[in-house]
Amino acid sequence: MEKYDGPDSGRVRIDDPWYDALASGWGELDGTGAPAPTVPPARQEQDDRAARAADVYLEVQRSAAFQEVRSRYRRFVVPAVAVFFSWYLAYVVTATTAPGLMARPVAGAVNVAMLAGLGQFLTTFLFTWAYARHARLRRDRAALDLRWDTQELTRGVAGGER
């Protein structure tokens, strides 16, 4: 949000309420009609429009709401990828380099290797469940709100062309 005063923001002329509105609801944006009135609708150059559409994405990317969604995604995915990938590599490397260890019996005919292999299946199912749950509860709503808001903004820019 500090970056709001950056060089690009002037061109788009998105007003301050933009950011508060993310939290408090977007209904009024159309009323304040951010970018459209700044230029005469007809005869604008293609590049200009493209640049302003790009600015919408830059602004959204810098918004607190988007950064929250992104960090929630990353906070789950980065550790999860690190864990399952090293667990799989460890499994494959151990199975190929230390078959003696893997052959150690645990109960009946079941040995360490069998437990580790079935463990891979189990952890895959668990990770899948955890990811789906995390995405559903922690990300979907915020991402959907951002989607409509962003499309509203880009439509505002695109609307200027007709």
């Binding site: 790009a54 830059l58 959204v60 009946g108 040995n111 895959t124 899948t128 951002l146 962003t150 499309q151």
Partner: protein, 530 residues
């Protein structure tokens, strides 16, 4: 195997073909020939339907017959191999499915090209996608020929050739007439049949052992002739350090390659939203995981009931383990139960090959038309003709696949599946991940990472023991073997990532921050997604 089996198997397979052909005609009755319709089936499949279709696309005959056969012959090492195919889906679920659904339209190249200078990136990604598809396709077609010969007992060369031609012709009809919608329905029907067959056999095996998995393992170990080492790793992928490294390389390629397979990526565009893409992956992980768990039971069951030696005597690579198991579970070769079960398994295997081949053909014709043709055509060509190009490409690729399948039918092409995964992981995955997650990624980085993964993977295979220099090679007479591993993944995957990084840091053009913002916002929110 008597004539009874064959007649019944052919009858069941004909029913499958008739049903799927009916579906193809039905879904294409009011097609309007748009790209959306042909490449993505109108994007209106439900997550469950797409989940079944993904599972159908992914579980090839190599999984159904090959992995359970590996387990029947080598015990634990077959299981070790199958784990990579499942864990790979976590990469797809976490890093790829939703983001790709949000950013792209039809292909992998769409995602990358959105950020970069379009033409070189599209040509690069299109080339590597077509390469992966063709490698995978040839493996399937060769498999089709030998499998049919195996299951129908018709070992005559002509019968094999006609089967390959027949499978190829059917697949060309499906894909060029029905596009994604027909292909998806074929995958769904096939996945249901495959799961149904696997569940039936698994239940029968478990009933035979009174639900005692421990007893099943003990009997399998006893009858395999290897004793307790049958239940531990090392029988197939043990041996010297080259063989062990080779397996690590294969494991890496499997787990990273799935997320770069074009026919899997294109499936995410058949659902309306990223959320639906996620839910379809969850469905497919459930189905695929359940299926591989059942192949474990089937593999050890075949070793315990049929016996490893009998399986090996029937087919050296174990592909007949499940059909033989079905014959025994049904009551033996002379009984009607055995005949029926065997015929069902054979028909499912045909259906599996046909469906997988159709899926890959569609994906590669999409890459040819949407990426390569669209970038290389003359400026004044009409965009409307893209779907026509895709249909033509499907026919062309089908003909090439049939020809290669016939030419290569006597060669040992088992390495091709692993190679397809290795190329996908080296050429497609790095560029995809960099595009989605790396702010400073540039056009040059994208192009370098594709060719930097594709080139080494292919060159290393040419220099490897699968092509020359050993008795099992494609060309045993020549010796160009400089690279010891059969699977290039261990070297080529890091090279793909390295080349992408190197291309990016050395490029003169600054990274386009606005395009990165657009990709990131669209990927995570779905704004502007089609």
């Amino acid at each position: 195997m008597t004539g009874n089996h064959q007649t019944l198997a052919l009858l069941l397979f004909s029913v499958f073909v008739a049903v799927t052909l009916a579906i193809t005609t039905w879904v294409s009755r009011h097609r309007h020939g748009s790209a959306e319709e042909f490449y993505a089936g109108g994007r209106l499949f439900s997550p469950m339907e797409n989940g079944f279709a993904i599972a159908g696309d992914y579980m090839s005959a190599a999984s159904f017959l090959g992995i359970s056969g590996l387990i029947a012959l080598f015990g634990y090492d077959g299981l070790l191999y199958s784990v990579g195919f499942l864990v790979a889906w976590l990469v797809v679920l976490f890093l790829v499915a939703e983001l790709v659904r949000n950013c792209g339209r039809f292909t992998l190249a769409d995602v990358v090209a959105a950020r970069m200078s379009e033409r070189p990136v599209r040509i690069a990604a299109g080339t590597s996608s077509v390469t992966v598809s063709v490698l995978y396709l040839v493996a399937q077609m060769v498999g089709a020929g030998s499998l049919v010969a195996l299951l129908l007992g018709g070992t005559s060369e002509a019968a094999q050739a006609w089967t390959v031609i027949g499978v190829g012709a059917l697949m060309i009809v499906y894909v060029s007439m029905g596009g994604m919608r027909a292909t998806t329905w074929i995958q769904i029907v096939k996945a249901v049949l495959l799961m149904g067959g696997a569940i039936t056999l698994t239940v029968l095996v478990l009933v035979r052992f009174h639900g005692d998995f421990n007893q099943l393992l003990r009997t399998a170990a006893e009858r395999s002739g290897h004793g307790s080492s049958f239940l531990a790793p090392g029988l197939k992928y043990g041996g010297d350090w080259t063989a062990r490294l080779d397996f690590i390389s294969l494991g890496l390629a499997l787990v990273l390659g799935t997320a770069g397979l074009p026919h899997i990526l294109s499936r995410f565009y058949t659902v309306p939203t990223a959320r639906a893409a996620r839910r379809s992956v969850v469905w497919s992980i459930g189905l695929i995981g359940g299926f591989y768990l059942m192949t474990i039971v089937l593999g050890f069951g075949a070793a315990a009931i049929v016996g490893s030696d009998t399986v090996r005597g029937s087919n050296a690579s174990g592909n007949t383990a499940v059909p033989l198991l079905a014959l025994d579970l049904g009551g033996g070769p002379a009984s009607s139960g055995g005949t029926v079960l065997f015929a069902i398994v054979a028909a499912i295997a045909f259906a599996t090959i046909l469906a997988v081949v159709a899926g890959i053909t569609l994906a590669s014709s999409t890459s040819v038309a949407h990426d390569l043709y669209a970038s290389l055509r003359r400026r004044h060509a009409k965009p409307r003709s893209e779907v026509a190009v895709a249909r033509t490409a499907a026919v062309g690729i089908g003909v090439v696949a049939i020809a290669l399948g016939l030419l290569a039918r006597d060669l040992n092409v088992a390495f091709l599946v692993g190679l397809a995964f290795a190329v996908a992981a080296s050429a497609n995955l790095p560029v995809l991940l960099y595009s989605l997650f790396w702010r400073n990624f540039t056009t040059r980085g994208a192009v370098w990472s594709v060719y930097g993964g594709l080139g080494p993977a292919l060159v290393l295979v040419l220099l490897s023991p699968v092509v020359t220099g050993s008795p099992a090679s494609l060309f045993p007479g020549v010796d160009l073997q400089y690279f010891p591993l059969e699977n290039p993944g261990l070297v080529s995957i890091p090279l793909g990532f390295l080349a992408g990084w190197l291309g990016t840091v050395t490029s003169a053009e600054p990274p386009d921050e606005a395009k990165h913002a657009e990709t990131e916002v669209r990927a995570l929110t779905g704004a502007g997604a089609v």
